[in-house]
Symmetry: C2
Subunit: 376 residues, 2 copies
């Protein structure tokens, strides 16, 4: 994997770069649609490629491990072959999902014992097994196994959790060094900075993570319920410590304005279920603000969903028709909303990149944020 | 509307023709995907046009009347404008849906009083109101308001019902003559032959319907539970009576082999929810036979869904992946199965047409039917 930092904004920490993996290049800053079980919900791979113009998608290790399972993924020749997505893929480590199981998991030094949400069967994830699983899935970028503490967390718990994450990271690095990619192409590990909302811990964690000298770095444990101001504070602090010439990935974030604010702090990569999950519930993100398409006010609004987002879903269907589809419970409503939202997210980060390259990002961002937050 | 009968098969009653409406031409025999509430379930209009290559779709008057309702449809300028489908549209009369409500409707000479399945509100459909509603929806081909008796029906009930359908037909014709299309384009009425599974009644009804000299004719009340042999017998009998130079539409039919058998009897047009509804449940129709994709046997079958159906869904996704999508409850599974099935249906009737034009239909049909029925 290679990362070229092309430019940094004069009036913010925003950066434009180019990330190159075995399955192709990614222009940063980038947003990665989430394909939990190997499918970005309600969107075909053709639509993702040609309409959304996604450059990289994410898969969830926890979900893929349970279903279809490693036997099928291995027989298929990895996730790229299985789902037919030949551009880059990133997999998370399963840590976040496993910790979300709350009552159905137990954390030990060795790893985490958890029960499947599907059939209640018991499984053990260790840093080593999670590396092996990600080898079998075959993503281009793979994530270290971390513990993601909830918000709020006590300082002592957050510190212990962070230290465990650091010890697990070293086991991940060791395991990867001892094993080979399953399908011949390079797989690059990103470690994850934790530390909850404590500046002291985030500083320690970012310093520790930076010291591992991995090819890219991630920030986890944010956007888990804390106020946005705290997220930005932690993110800014960590970005100052993480190496400049390596990509920075803020996990699980967020709204369109969250993306723009965090880009200004030096983030290069994002993923979030928001454009698809909220889309399936009728929430649309547009250049003019946020639309709840289920609202009665759109019933006879025959203007297109969003003229400014260049996408067939946004330009060829009206708000009235989309509202009708949601009112009638038609699957097509979820499809169109998902495609529109993802297209908008990809075009938003593309526009951000152009502003960074033009040296005008900070002013553009300041003007855009309140507009994106408008409730239409 | 114009219908050119191009050729009739030497060894069967199969015909190839060209139907021309205000929104374009339709090659017959044709299959019409069902877009109940203005959307063919789980398929975008772009996919319908470019991948499925649908030439005409169907809308359901009952559903569209209830939701989005006539006010919205009228404000939109009709269904073509509302859903963005600029090719031909046919609407049913709501009769079949209303009679399916069973306990929640009451049939009188005037019309049918029924309760909405959505909110229980009471409504009256009369031949006149149904013509007015179809004017407002704006379909190119509109259907007469008929009573569709259940199977089995007593002879006396079936006869009375048929007679009511004939009286209602005359009221439909009168109403249409008194009113104008709402959006300037021609709307053509198809009357419906009824008579349950009684040859005597079907003969009377076909004769009565033919005497109205409408531009096209339909056969209703079949594929409602009767044995396939009875459906073919009734259909063949009616086709012998209906005028040769007008299109014949067999409503609500059916399986791929039902299509081929009825084409051999002289049918030109079909509609059915089967490719989409069964697709959403994991049943795939292919040139080699029928697949239940949920079956464990497909878990590691990495061959494409159907090599012989020319469609991105059929050619670019594997059976193993599609099975996984159904196992995981992913919407994408329903989308791909629907697109594949519809593409297959459209390519099946296209192949039938080519065989008719080549004069080889009967032999081809005889070879195809058992193959299509194979359980894979």
């Amino acid at each position: 994997m290679n990362f070229d930092l092309l430019t940094t904004d004069n009036n913010s920490q925003a950066r434009a770069g180019m990330l190159t993996t075995a399955h192709g290049s990614i222009e940063t800053p980038i947003f990665m649609p989430v394909g939990t079980v190997g499918s970005v919900k309600a969107v075909t791979q053709e639509q993702l490629r040609n309409d959304v113009q996604a450059q990289i998608i994410l898969g969830n290790t926890y979900h893929l491990y349970l279903r279809p399972g490693l036997e099928v993924l291995s027989a298929a020749g990895g996730l790229h072959s299985f789902n037919g997505w030949q551009r880059p893929i990133l997999t998370d480590s399963g840590g976040y999902q496993v910790f979300s199981l709350a009552a159905n998991r137990k954390i030990k030094e060795e790893g985490v014992v958890f029960q499947s949400h599907i059939d209640g069967s018991r499984h053990l994830f260790t840093p080593e097994s999670v590396m092996d699983i990600q080898r079998t899935i075959g993503a281009d970028i793979i994530m270290a196994f971390d513990e993601c503490p909830p918000y709020p967390s006590e300082f002592v718990y957050a510190r212990k959790s962070m230290e465990l994450t650091h010890r697990w990271l070293d086991r991940c690095i060791k395991r990867l060094a001892e094993t080979q990619p399953a399908y011949g192409h390079e797989q690059t590990l990103f470690p994850i900075v934790q530390g909850s909302t404590y500046k002291e811990l985030r500083t320690i964690s970012a310093t520790e993570i930076a010291a591992r000298e991995c090819a890219g770095n991630a920030i986890g444990g944010l956007s888990v319920g804390e106020p946005e101001a705290e997220m930005y504070e932690m993110c800014g602090l960590v970005c100052e410590i993480l190496p400049v010439h390596k990509p920075r990935y803020l996990m699980g974030v967020g709204t369109p304005w969250n993306l723009l604010e965090n880009i200004a702090l030096g983030i290069d990569m994002f993923d979030c279920v928001m454009p698809t999950r909220n889309g399936r519930n009728g929430m649309l993100f547009t250049w003019q603000g946020v639309i709840n398409i289920k609202n009665k006010k759109w019933a006879t609004d025959f203007s297109v969903i969003d003229e400014q987002t260049n996408c067939f879903a946004s330009n060829n269907y009206t708000k009235a028709y989309l509202r009708h589809l949601f009112a009638a419970g038609e699957i097509l409503g979820m499809q169109l909303a998902s495609i529109h939202n993802l297209s908008f997210y990809l075009q938003l980060v593309k526009a951000a990149r152009e502003q960074i390259l033009a040296g005008t990002y900070a002013a553009w961002k300041a003007a855009m944020v309140p507009q994106l937050q408008t409730r239409l």
